[in-house]
Structures are given as C-alpha cells and as structure tokens.
Amino acid sequence: MKLFFKHLKNSIKRKPIQPLILILTLALAMVVITACINVGIFINGETDERQVVEYGTADFTVSLNATSKSRFMFSDKAEEILENKAKVVGLYDLPVYFSQTNQTAFGVAVDFYDVEQVFEFEFIEHLPITSSSVNESALVSLDFAEKYNLGLGDSFTVNVLGYDKTYTIKAISKIPFMGSYELMVNVTGVMRLLASDSLLVSSLGDSFKPSNTLYVNVLEDGFVNDCITALKNDADFSDKTFQNVANIMEQDGEIGPMNTIVYVLIALSLMLSVAVVFCCFYIISNERTGENALFKALGATASKMNLLQYAEIGLYWLIGAPIGLALSIPFSKLIYRVVGFRYFTAKFSPLSFVISSALTLVISVFTAFVFIISERRPKKLKKQISLYKYTLPAFLLTFILTITLPVKARFILCCISEILLFITIFTGVPVIFKWITSVIDKILCKRQIKNNGTKVASFGYAVKNVKQVRVLQNSCRLLSVILVVIFTILTAVNSADIVINNYKSWLNADFAIPNSTASCREKIEKLDSVENVYSILMTSGTINDMSIKMLSISDVNALSDTCDLDRTPTGNELFVPLAICDRQNLKIGDIVYIQIGESQYEFKVSKLRKDNINVVIFNSEYFGLEYDTLLADGVENIEKELLRNQLLSAIALEMTTIVDCKELFNRLFVVGSLYINSGWFILPMMILFAVIGMVDNVVISYRARREEFELYSLSGMSKKTVRRMIFFELLLTATFGLVLSLVSSLFAILLLDNGMRTFGYRMLLAFGIA
C-alpha cells in the first residue's frame, strides 16, 4: 500500500503543475457555487424581508381603483366595521417638492400613533417627538438624508400639495419606509395645510385622515376572509380593490419570472462548474489510466488502484476546498454589496459552504468513478460516452413537446429538456468533433496525393491530432458547454434588462397626475410648456383567477414605440400582449370576461401585441369607466423641473400630486434591478470562471502532451511548425466549439423562452423576436 502512495507522491512531484491547476479549478468552482447559492439565499431573504417591510404584519390591503367613487378611504371607519377584530393603518401617498433644487421626493402621510400597529421601523438615530411638534416632524430614510445633505434635527422646506411646509428631521431610518417612501410625515399636519382651502377639511378638523391604501392586520388567524367580506359589504369599501398579502408576489407580474430567471442562472452556473471540474479531472485521469493498468498487470488488485484514484482526487479536494472556502467569504460579501440588497442583512449561512463543499466532492468522486468504471468495464464506458444516442432523441422529443404543449406545462419540460441538451452536448460533442475532423482529414489526404504534398504540413497534422487526441475533444466539449451556458445567461439577463427599460419608457409623457377631472385637465392644457395631455386609466382585473394590469388611453400617442400599438381599441376590443395570450390561451376573436372591481365585463380579443409590456389595453369609455390619471407631455427640450414647477402651480388647488412617469413603476424597477444586478454579476463571474477553466484545461492537456510534441521535433519538425500545429489544433477546437455551441445555444435559448412563458414572460420578445 505504501508503495502505491509513494507512486502517487512521485507522480504529483514529477508533474506538479497539473494538480496545482486542478486544485485551483476546484477552489474556483467552490467559489462560484457558493456565490450562486448565496445569491439565491440573498434573493429569497430579500423577498421575505421586503414583504415584512412593505406590508408589515398586514394580512390584506385595500386600495383605490378605477371604479372607486371616492378618492379617499378612512382607516378608523374600517376598524369600526371590523369591530376591532383588526388593526387598520392608512397610507396617503405624498410626493414632496424642493422648490430650491427642483427635486421631488416620495413621501407618505400616516397617523404617527397608528402606524406602528402594523409596521415596525428601525431607526439609526432619533429624537423624541412631542405632541406639539408631531405635525412638523419628518422621519426620513438614510438615502434621503444623504441626498439632501440633512442630519438629525435639521429643518427643510418643501412644497406639499402646492403649499410650502417646513419639517424637522426627528429620525433617520436605514431603509425607505414601506420599502419605497423616502420620508414619512404625520397626516394631520398635511390636512391642516388644506384646511383653509377646503370647507370639508376645515369642518372635520384633525379627524380627517384620508388614505389611498389601507393595511389591515387581522388579529385572529383564520378571519382574513371574513374581514374582507365584512368590508366589501360596506358601501364605502365595496368599490375598492382587496389584495391578500399572501398572494402578493403572484400579482407582481414581472417579478415572478425574474426570480425564476435568477434560479435558472444559478442552475446553469452549477452545471458549468460541474463541466469545468470534470473536464480538468478528465485529463489527469486519462493519463493515470495507462499507469494504473500497468500496476494491475504487475499484480496490484483493482480495489487498491481504485482506492489510489479516489485518494488522489480526495487529496486535491482536501486542499482545494479550504482554499475555495477562504475565497468564498469575501466573494459572497462582494456580491451582497454589488447587487445592492436593501432589506436583507447578509448572513452567511454555513449551508452554502456545506453544499458547495459537498457538490465539489461529489463531482470529484464522480469523475474518479467514471474512470474507474471505464477501466473495469470498457463496454460500460462506451455506453456512457455514447449516452448522447439516448439523450439526443429524448431531447428532441422534449424540445418539440416544450414548444407545442400548453404553456402551463412548459417550464418543467423546459428544465428536463435543458438537462438532456446539456448531457447531449457533454457526451456528443467529442464524438461529433472527432467525426468532422475525420472527414476533413480524409479530404486533406486525397488532396495531398493530388497536390503532391505542397499542403501546409502543420494544418494537416493538427487535423490528425484533433481526430485522435481525446484531451482536445475534451477541450472542445468544455468550450461548447461554457459557450452555451454563457450565451443563454447573456440572453436571459439582457432580455430582463431590456424589459425593465421598456417599462421605464413606455409612457410617452413626462408626468402623471392622478386626477383626471375636467378642471384639472383644462388647467394643464392651458400651459404653454405642455404639448400633449392624455387621459389614462390604470387598473387591474382578474381573468380566470389571474390578476392582470389593464390600461385605457385616450390617445394612441400616450404610449411610446415600446408598445406595439397603432390605434386605440374601440368598443369592447382588447389588445393583449403575447405573454398573456400564451397563459390564457387566447386567439384573435376570442371572447373573454374580466372582473374589474365588483363587475364583470365582456371583451373581444382583437390584437395580439408583440411587446413586453404585460398590460392589456382596453377602451374604458365604452364600459363607462372613467379615466383616473392625466399624462402631461412637455414641449420638446423643456427642462423637466421647469415643467414640474409650472404644473404644480397650475393645479395647486386640485388636491393632487405630480409623479414623474419614470418613477411610476419605481417599485418594479427597484425589485427588477435586484435580479438584473444579480444576473449581471453572475455573468462575468461565469465568464471569468469559464475562461480560467478553459485555460486550465488547455494548459493541463498541453503539459500532458509534451512528449508527443518532442517526438514531432525528433522527426524533423521545426519548432515553428510545431507551434503552428498547436495553433491550428486550438483554432480547430475553438471553431468547432463555437459552431456547435451556437447551434446548441439556439435550442437552449428557444427552450428557455418557451419555459418562461409558463410565468407569462416572453424572453425573446425583448429582442423583437415573436
């Protein structure tokens, strides 16, 4: 036994570079796997934490919608109806405007004494708030304080609903309130501003506390639905939208798929790590196979040799794993920083380290196992190597099924099919590569005889080598796998990025004013700085239990080119984006029923929109629903802040706010960018890892083939020709790897596109491919 380990020690000593590279590869794989798992953990944690921050302990929310007659709700009224079985907190959206700097901040007005019944806040520092100062106190986020260079106790003057008001900062919170508001003020103070202008407000006094959204925390479990029913039965709430917090993630149309994309990326990264480690081990094992056979010929038992092989790989893992772990911690911290998680505090779960250690160990042992099997039962290896013979038809079958079956079933099929594709590439590429180079070799040989050998020798021998040398075919396989993974990730992340950008620019206007009364519209239209005013209605409806966003516009120009639209719908026409058509299985001419508020409306699908804006467009006028928001588009080249100033002064008495259109979907962007940042982080990391893996692979294989090149020199090949031959070998490997991976990527991307349709996301639409 001692002898064998001495042999192992000596073979490592003789060629120390290969094990070193392998250990490095293992360590890097570990870093990548840990990083990916951590991204998953972070995103999950972030989602949970975000829910806590955004909804507190609320079980459901009540908000305004298009059919709501009253523009306000009152939390104490709701609490009364629910007979104190629930705590209700009201939020009143309140953008504030800094006249000096022309900047807008997003604020919220709440009842300071009520709000803590549902929400919990964590302040970095705070001052006491007395009942006399409560209406002049502002709680701000750290971002806000830094942006406007304000500190605890500082005062600032802002324009609120058209009135100037001075607030003093009494507390600074690390994160925005409810996840999106930069400052929080007491609602009574705001209402007092309006008291002089509104008879109603002044007569009601401090008990007038309107809200746009109510957050209801049901005190006893199991009564959520009872509470919703109780509220719906009241005339004041019957026309409002109720949302169960438990279902909220589902309602975030774009966020579900992006979450899935990140998990797909993580899965792909794992596969890539497996491929890189396997391919690097492959070369060493390949070399050892001959030696081991010799040992066996001299009487060493098979089990001893197997043990030796496991011992070798285990040794590399024992050295590589701690290095990988040591590198993983700072690397995971870096991801946390770069991606910009806001609510989740990075906790490095030992689980990720355990999983990555275990995974790399499994990969290592598996590699050793494959080679042991191949030595013992060559036939079995042949079966493994020609696994593609079974996976290729299986892949084609699942591929066809994925693109033909109803979208609901596609995601699972897509995953299975992607794995089959991966195995096919892994086992098939070397074979295809060998086959193609054999053909080239044959052609070259024929030409050579004809041309009397004037052909460049280096290329001819490069072809012959590629045809015969397994490590080169192995490199080709690794390259293909790497490129397929990278192309797929690149497409997915890029598509998500484009979609988010589309959302930022799909409204063809500068500002949105959530008040569409005729008087307000008139005032805006009078402004010289405003070129166009559009009326829109943004609401949500339910179609076969699926919640969808709905939009009605007064003019087709209200939407930019991002939206595939050439006219506004007339009558009960419904313009549906492809992704929703997919999920609901809709065709042009279909009749669909959509629940908006309490009523059901009949629509006729009359256009399938080829854009990525997951909002159906309808004609609200036909159904007697009124527009609820005005869009103001400034004249060309007008400064945005100037426009905002003019709008603010024009509609000061309309009791409304002005929202930058770009910020309208702010919440979506914040969450979306989280996923996209993760994607953009994983991608270069994968590329880096892949490049290192590929270089490792090439270096190891050339070290393993050094003797062979020497033989060429001994046969009279000049160093230059040898170098050129190596160059051609690499060129051939790279070219075929690229071509094969391009073909495979096409399938992989098509598959993912189809799989993502299950979540109502059309990945390729972002690139204009319908």
């Binding site: 004037t454 012959k464 009279g716 090949m717």
Partner: protein, 217 residues
C-alpha cells in the same frame, strides 16, 4: 562523415561514456556492440544530436549539430539523418502510414519517386496490412518495422538504428538486414546500428565494441 572526438557523458555523477573517439566515413556500415547498460544508446543519442555530451565534439560533415539553432537542427535532420529508437517512439496519434510519411511530408518531398520508395519499403518490411492502424494497435515487432521504414523513407545520408531487430523473428531479422545492406550499397547511405546479436553485427563492415564507457578493440 561523422566524427566523435573525446566525448564523455555522465548521469548523476556516474560516468557512462569516458572519452570516445570515433569516425564514421561515408557509405560505411558499422555495428556497435556491448553489454546492456554499457552506454550504446547514450552514444547513439549523442551522435544523433539528441543528447549533448558533457565534453568533446560531435561533427556532422565538419559541423557541430549542437551549434545549430533548434530549427536549423530540425531541418538538417530531415535531410541528413534517420533514427530508429530502441523504444520506437512512434507518434500515437498518427497511423503507421502517417508516421512513416511524417518526415517526408515535413521536407515537402512527396513525389512519385518517394511514393514508389514508400511502396517498396512497406512491401519489403511487410507493413502494408496494417498501414492504417495506430501504434497502440500494433505489436512490438510491427512498431519496429514502422520505425525502420520511417527512418529510411526520406533517404537520409545517415541512418542510425538502436537494436533494429530486437523485436523481430529470425526470418524478418534477415529481411531487415538484407534491406539495410541494399540501402547501404545502392544509395550509399551510412548505417550505424547497435545490436546484441553477433549474426546481425556481421552485416556491418566494421564492429565497434563498447565496455565500461570505452571502446575496446
């Protein structure tokens, strides 16, 4: 003409060659004999320009191969010298045919004449049946014949063979030696071979015996 002047070589302090002086004139057929481990292969490697001696000179037609650049040496080797290694050293990724044609292709000498000669050699050495096999699929003797064909095929001025018949049966042994003799006579090729067999050594014009790193007369 190849001259070896006062060549010494030691491995790890152990002297293997202790001052060898030799001259091989053109068209000569020389056999070198000696006990196993006496340094024959080492001497051939030095003559072939693969191994640098510790001391002394090697001259090919008056030029020292160790003064050449790597590429010039490779070029010179292609036209001047054929070498059959004791361990054959066939390239595992090339078929028997490709192995034989490698030096010819490299020196861009493929013409009808060399193709005919290739045909002749492969017939004489009975290689034809396994021309398209890879070295890993050949027997020791088959490999040896391929190695001999590879060394002869491009008609170098000097052919050096390290135990060319070590792996062959007696019938084949005679055939190879007859072939070498013929090449020596017809093409005026200098042949230097190492052998353990007295019978094989007799084909040479001259026998050199090596003992303890020195030449014994």
């Amino acid at each position: 003409m190849i001259q070896i002047q006062n060549v010494t070589k030691s491995y790890n302090g152990e002297k293997v060659l202790k001052g060898i002086d030799l001259t091989f004139s053109d068209k000569e057929f020389v056999s070198i004999m000696g006990a196993s481990g006496s340094g024959k292969s080492t001497l051939l490697s030095i003559i072939g320009g693969f191994l640098r001696p510790d001391d002394g000179n090697v001259l090919w037609e008056g030029q020292n191969p160790f003064d050449f650049t790597d590429d010039a040496l490779a070029g010179k080797r292609r036209s001047y010298m054929g070498f059959v290694f004791q361990s054959f050293k066939l390239i595992s990724t090339l078929t028997a045919k490709d192995n034989i044609m490698l030096p010819v292709t490299l020196s861009k000498k493929i013409n009808n004449e060399t193709l005919e000669y290739f045909d002749f050699l492969t017939t004489e050495l009975e290689i034809k049946p396994f021309l398209n096999k890879y070295p890993g699929q050949l027997s020791g003797g088959q490999c040896q014949r391929v190695a001999i064909a590879r060394a002869l095929c491009y008609k170098p001025s000097v052919v050096i063979l390290d135990e060319p018949t070590g792996a062959l049966d007696s019938v084949m042994e005679v055939k190879v030696m007859e072939l070498l003799k013929r090449v020596n006579k017809e093409q005026k090729t200098t042949i230097i071979q190492v052998t353990h067999s007295e019978k094989v050594s007799c084909y040479g014009d001259r026998i050199i015996r090596l003992k303890d790193g020195l030449i014994v007369k």
